[in-house]
């Protein structure tokens, strides 16, 4: 998108005002998914498969239906038929058809007068299963004798001869890797594995659904994208999209995991059958068993380097297991893997593998952190063996403007070199390490995204402004929107109220994902404000009796554009809006587009790890995140994103994992045993915001929500491996795994 209105000196942007939703959140006034009530509301509960893989022979709902207080029972028979593509896969996940595909897969649901009644009634639903062989490990799922999970799922991209569990294939790159490896002084090839991790949002999925026999419905839910929810729920229920109005609640975290639907279509189906509103709230165990974790991975990476640290070739094979459904983001893994480096010879291959696990969902930069773990570990090994400085090696090979990216296009303005220089010059990088400590660094890359965006901005008579956006606020975006609107309009931040509008209020908005909100909704807010400014200038021109183009907007006022335009007192916004009803009607601005200049993002992390050699326990005494934000609209929330990425990455690297038993059941479906870091596990995470403006945004914004989780796995693995004196090839680097590696090393 060509933009002739790039701005660089700012009044409001770059300040750190309180977030508009802050008071509500600290006082408990904010309404989250589970906070909605409706007259006559019922409570829903889901019956889930205890088997990893089983044919559903028979479902007997009669006892449950006969129970007092029970108003409806639904199974797959209560959903639309004939769906294809992603609608079909989402439906299969939301409610099992012929076969339960993983431990926790929904098989039936019940609505009753109370949550306890619903829970008891769920136990009365009798399901007869024929247990089938299962597989949960990515490598095993590809082996010749692995049970076939959903035959016929594979698309045309898969090379011949592969197991039917391999459902998609990706290959990209350029140059001649064989020649590149031949030119290297040292080639290192290693294999890596990572377990699935969960986004771990604090708020479980929750919704309140109402759907009448007339096909008109209302849905309140915690989601990152209510238009997505609207479209998918309508399809799964067989109703018209526009007849379902969806309102997004306040959201208690999503990180990508709330970009799809789980209980929402079920609650709607129950409501339609009971003719009453139905509320559903997942337990934490349901969240862990049945909502999207990341893919688990198995990866081989080979990199060649000359003695001076130049990478001559790089090659990677990335196998991602994403549950019993296609869609593991293996192409992102492959495409991100080598993106930080300017490579003449590079090749990457990805496999999407299905297994008897829940359908993977996005989790901040889906697929990229695992790739970085493998690639940046091999680079660290090369640095160790060639005795080279890890930052200097990365600087030597760093992608720059004009570099042909490993995944194809040429980079525009990017900030990787600036990030690496900031890392090299940061006091952390040269600080003395203590006994038992090691330091690791890693680069990270994410594409960022634009997406369908629609924003509306309405002026009030008193000169204040209401901005309606369609992207749920998952990271302080209302503050950022208000800052961009106040900068554009020239009025104080406090005069603007930003609301997340429901699906009936705006045109389609893509989900809050892909780090797109500050970029795309921000761009749309700026454009909508500019449209309102144009109209205000028109009103001033009419009042002054001069041509429209003789009026310009300055510091929140309409002013004559120059001496020739005439001599008029500036008209402040409130002066124009006060009588707008009489001067042409209400004034508002709109913007709708699918902006395509998101601007890719790079970051560099520095981390110190301390490993207890007797127990294998790791602590993280120091952590620094450096990342290019393009332009930090609200620096505190940018820093928050950086810190959050590091915090989640520490969990992923050290202790979080999906543990499946021999029976294919998830062993650790509670927060006691699914070990996300607690506050005292984390150091104060230092941040450095690098600003290399994104040419695709009026104020230079790049999304910052995802890149921050790309480097931690690798940076921590490099730090731990150096601290322990033994290389770690598998995540999580839990104490038993580190102790075993130390013992194996002697």
């Amino acid at each position: 998108m060509a933009l002739d209105d790039r701005k660089s000196d700012f009044t409001f942007i770059g300040t750190r005002p309180d977030r508009p939703d802050g008071l509500d959140k600290v006082t408990g006034r904010a309404k989250f998914g589970a906070d909605a009530v409706a007259p006559g509301m019922l409570f829903g509960a889901i019956v889930r498969s205890p088997h990893a893989h089983a044919r559903i022979v028979k479902i007997d709902t009669s006892k449950a239906e006969a129970m007092k207080g029970v108003k409806a029972v639904v199974t797959r028979a209560d959903f639309a038929t004939g769906l294809t593509g992603e609608f079909w896969n989402v439906q299969e996940n939301v409610m099992a058809g012929d076969t339960a595909l993983y431990d926790g897969h929904a098989v039936a649901a019940v609505a009753a007068n109370s949550a306890l009644d619903a829970r008891d009634a769920a136990k009365l639903i009798e399901i007869e299963y024929e247990v089938l062989p299962h597989v949960t490990d990515v490598d095993k799922a590809m082996e010749a004798d692995a049970p076939v999970i959903r035959d016929g799922t594979a698309d045309g991209s898969v090379p011949e001869g592969m197991h039917p569990n391999v459902v998609r294939y990706h290959e990209s790159g350029h140059g001649d890797v064989a020649a590149g490896f031949a030119a290297a002084d040292l080639v290192i090839e290693d294999s890596f594995k990572t377990e699935a991790t969960h986004q771990g949002y604090i708020e479980p999925h929750a919704c309140l659904a109402s759907l009448g026999a007339d096909g008109k419905g209302e849905l309140w839910c915690t989601t990152q994208g209510h238009w997505y929810a609207q479209k998918h729920c309508a399809a799964l229920l067989g109703i018209e999209t526009s007849q379902l109005r969806v309102t997004a609640s306040e959201i208690g975290g999503g990180f990508g995991g709330k970009t799809t639907v789980f209980i929402e279509p079920v609650a709607l189906a129950l409501s339609r059958k009971a003719n009453r509103p139905v509320k559903m709230v997942m337990s934490r165990s349901e969240v862990l068993r049945a909502t999207g974790p990341t893919s688990s991975t198995s990866m081989d990476v080979k990199i060649g380097m000359t003695k001076d640290g130049t990478i001559t070739a790089a090659e990677g094979v990335f196998r991602l297991q994403g549950g019993a459904f296609p869609g593991a983001p293996m192409e992102f893994t492959a495409m991100c893997a080598f993106a930080p480096y300017a490579l003449e010879n590079v090749r990457q291959v990805g496999y999407d593998v299905i297994a008897n696990r829940p359908k993977q969902a996005a989790y901040r930069a889906p697929g990229s952190p695992m790739a970085a773990f493998a690639v940046e570990s091999v680079i660290d090994l090369l640095c160790q063996q060639l005795d080279l400085d890890p930052v200097e090696v990365r600087l030597k090979n760093a992608s720059k403007k004009g570099t042909k990216a490993s995944y194809g296009p040429r980079f525009d303005d990017i900030g990787l070199v600036e990030c690496l220089e900031a890392a090299r010059d940061h006091p952390h990088y040269s600080a003395q390490l203590e006994q038992g400590q090691g330091r690791g660094i890693s680069c990270g890359f994410w594409f960022n995204h634009g997406g369908e965006t629609s924003v509306s901005l309405a002026l009030s008579e008193d000169g204040t402004v209401q901005v309606s956006v369609g992207t749920p606020d998952i990271g302080g975006s209302r503050a950022s929107m208000a800052l961009m609107a106040s900068e554009t309009l020239g009025i104080p931040y406090e005069n603007i109220r930003v609301t997340i509008a429901d699906t009936a209020t705006l045109g389609y908005n893509d989900v809050s994902h892909g780090s797109r909100v500050t970029y795309a909704s921000g761009l749309a807010t700026i454009k909508a404000a500019q449209a309102a400014i144009a109209e205000m200038c028109k009103r001033a021109a009419a009042k002054w009796g001069i041509p429209e183009d003789a009026v310009k907007w300055e510091d929140g006022c309409a002013v004559p554009s120059g001496p020739n335009a005439g001599d008029f007192e500036p008209l402040a916004m409130a002066d124009i809006t006060a009588d707008m009803g009489a001067t042409g009607g209400p004034i508002s601005g709109h913007f709708e587009a699918t902006p395509e200049g998101a601007g890719v993002s790079f970051g560099v992390h520095i981390v110190d790890a301390q490993v207890d050699p007797e127990t294998g326990k790791t602590s993280i005494p120091r952590y620094t995140v450096i990342q290019d934000a393009g332009k930090a609209i609200h620096p505190a929330y940018v820093e928050g994103q950086f810190q959050g990425g590091a915090a989640q990455g520490i969990g992923w690297a050290l202790n979080e994992e999906y543990v499946y038993g021999e029976d294919g059941r998830l062993q650790n479906a509670v927060f006691l045993d699914y070990r996300i870091p607690v506050a005292s596990d984390l150091p104060m995470i230092d941040t450095v915001i690098v600003e290399v403006p994104n040419p695709g945004h009026p104020y230079g914004v790049r999304g910052v929500g995802e890149t921050g989780i790309v480097p931690p796995l690798a940076a921590i693995a490099n730090a731990v491996s150096r601290a322990a004196g033994v290389r770690m090839f598998e995540l999580p680097m839990s104490p038993p795994r580190i102790l075993a590696a130390l013992k194996a090393d002697g």
Binding site: R119, E614, G616, K617, R675, V678, P735, P736
Partner: protein, 293 residues
């Protein structure tokens, strides 16, 4: 579900003796209520013992021993200067349980009677030689803590029996105790291995050592070989190594989501050494803050 709040232990035991189905006593409720909400155990009868006189008292007896009511919370123990001075290992073990919120409710008795092999306060109580008073219709008896748990989720208490007091011996001179647990995080986790050591010094020689391991077998283990390894020593390196070997040898753990057999066995030895050093220093009059290992 029926809820009762009797005014005496006699009444509580009579109630428990005369009902069918699943009975739970409600002390802090940090196990009972969590299990109820998670749909793991839904009691038919819930007997709240917090209305009984004296259940929140911490009393030091004339002989220096301590009697704790069955509803005394972890937070109350931690704030009790005299108890913390005498038995820092027991107090710290209880203090490791849960968060600040949980500490305001959770009790030693609940931790013991819940029957988890990983319960933090239990090894510390066993090392300290703590007993509980068990009351029933037939009267009261005193039972050593190590005799209470019989396996995961099970205790030796019969129907109609309940704990009415926790009795901690007099500490006496030149003695110290310590409890350490291994968790992968820094808090809010369950012990993968727990080790408690209590000992007395005669000059610089260890006497009366008691070493107890948690989370490495179906019940806590009071390990005589560990005690033998350090009794009569100055806790020199050879004694510590022997202690570690004895601790590892005593382990009979399982591999599960929380740790492997090998890991638990190794770390039991490591923690035994570390806990013994703290107990030794405390017996020497040093103030040593226990940590989470």
């Amino acid at each position: 579900m029926n809820y009762h709040s009797p005014a005496s232990f006699a009444e509580a035991s009579a109630l428990a003796a005369n009902v069918d189905g699943v009975t739970r006593f409600l002390a802090g409720g940090t196990d009972v209520l969590v299990q109820l909400r998670a749909d793991i155990v839904t009691p038919d009868t819930l007997i709240d013992i917090k209305m009984i006189d004296g259940v929140s008292d911490i009393i030091q007896n004339d002989d220096g021993s301590w009697t704790l009511g069955v509803a005394v919370t972890g937070a109350e123990m931690t704030e009790h200067a005299g108890l913390s001075q005498d038995w820092p290992g027991v107090v710290e073990a209880m203090d490791l349980v849960g968060s600040t919120q949980v500490q305001g409710r959770a009790t030693l008795t609940g931790n013991l009677c819940n029957g988890s092999p990983a319960a933090d306060s239990v090894p510390a109580m066993v090392a300290a030689g703590v007993t509980v008073t068990v009351t029933s219709a037939d009267g009261s008896r005193e039972v050593a803590v190590e005799k209470v748990p019989t396996g995961p989720g099970r205790t030796s208490l019969a129907k109609g029996e309940l704990v009415s007091a926790v009795n901690i011996p007099a500490r006496g001179d030149n003695a110290g105790d310590a409890y350490l647990r291994f968790i992968p995080r820094t808090e809010m986790d369950i012990a993968v291995v727990g080790v408690a050591v209590s000992l007395r010094l005669d000059g610089d020689i260890v006497t009366e050592a008691r070493v107890c391991l948690g989370a490495v077998a179906p019940t806590v283990l009071l390990v005589q070989d560990c005690a033998d390894a350090i009794n009569g020593s100055t806790l020199d390196d050879a004694a510590l190594d022997a202690l570690a070997v004895a601790a590892s040898a005593a382990c009979n753990p399982i591999t599960d989501k929380r740790g492997t057999v090998e890991f638990r066995t190794d770390v039991a030895g490591v923690l035994a050494k570390r806990a013994a050093k703290i107990a030794y220093a405390r017996a020497n009059g040093e103030t040593v803050k226990g940590d989470h290992a």
